[in-house]
């Protein structure tokens, strides 16, 4: 039967570096001084604000902190760019995963140039 097992082949010496980094960061963060969080107004609509920011609609509404919609900027260009990046990543992963009958070129590209066996 296949079941999850505790990993015993860990490289724990390298893991100590992660623990050390956490210790340093914890020291810095706990000692950091911040003003009290401004937060959002109790009736503020966060989701609406995010939607308006993503579609560049902030200019069409009266957007002021504490008056319904928290302040944001326009992210329409970033939204479109991330759309292109996502489509490119999906197409790329499908290209990588596709199995072809004659895949000599793809194999050369993806096997690190190992010699054919």
């Amino acid at each position: 039967m296949n079941r999850p097992r505790l990993a015993t082949n860990l490289n724990l010496a390298a893991g100590v570096a992660a623990l050390g980094l956490f210790a340093v960061m914890a020291l810095v963060f706990v000692g950091a001084e911040f003003t009290d969080p401004n937060g959002f107004a109790s009736g503020a609509s966060i989701m609406e604000g995010i939607g308006y920011a993503l579609f560049d609609l902030t200019g069409q509404f009266d957007v002021r902190p504490g008056e319904g919609i928290p302040s944001t900027e326009s992210f329409l260009l970033a939204f479109e760019l991330i759309d292109v990046v996502l489509v490119a990543a999906l197409v790329g992963s499908i290209m990588l995963a596709r199995r072809e009958s004659d895949d000599s070129l793809r194999k050369t590209l993806t096997d690190g140039g190992r010699d054919e066996e």
């Binding site: 082949n9 860990l10 570096a17 963060f29 920011a53 928290p70 999906l90 790329g92 990588l96 995963a97």
Partner: protein, 100 residues
């Protein structure tokens, strides 16, 4: 309201768990999951500072980071599939010819 320092501490913890996974394991799938943890630590920071300044930009940034993480996982899974096809294993130390 919870002070921002505690969010930073939580984020540092999540980030270091991800780093621990990357440094100690060799399985490519666990690598991907650890990278996700590190990206989500950054998201916690973005949302925490969004609340600190009362500005929504941080939350929108976090959304974009999630989209980028999805793209990264799509490509990562494709690479792991090819890795398995060529090496019959997903140990990240086995492909050595592309190291430099």
């Amino acid at each position: 309201m919870i002070p921002t320092q505690w969010y930073l501490l939580l984020s540092a913890g999540v980030f270091c768990i991800g780093l621990f996974g990357i440094l100690t394991r060799k399985n490519a799938l666990i690598f991907l999951m650890s990278v996700e943890l590190m990206l989500n630590a950054a998201n916690i920071n973005l949302v925490a500072f969004s609340q600190q300044w009362g500005n929504l930009n941080g939350q929108v940034f976090a959304l974009f980071t999630m989209a980028l993480a999805a793209a990264e996982v799509a490509v990562g899974l494709g690479i792991i599939l090819v890795l398995y096809r060529n090496f019959e294993d997903i140990d990240v130390t086995s492909p050595t010819t592309m190291r430099w």
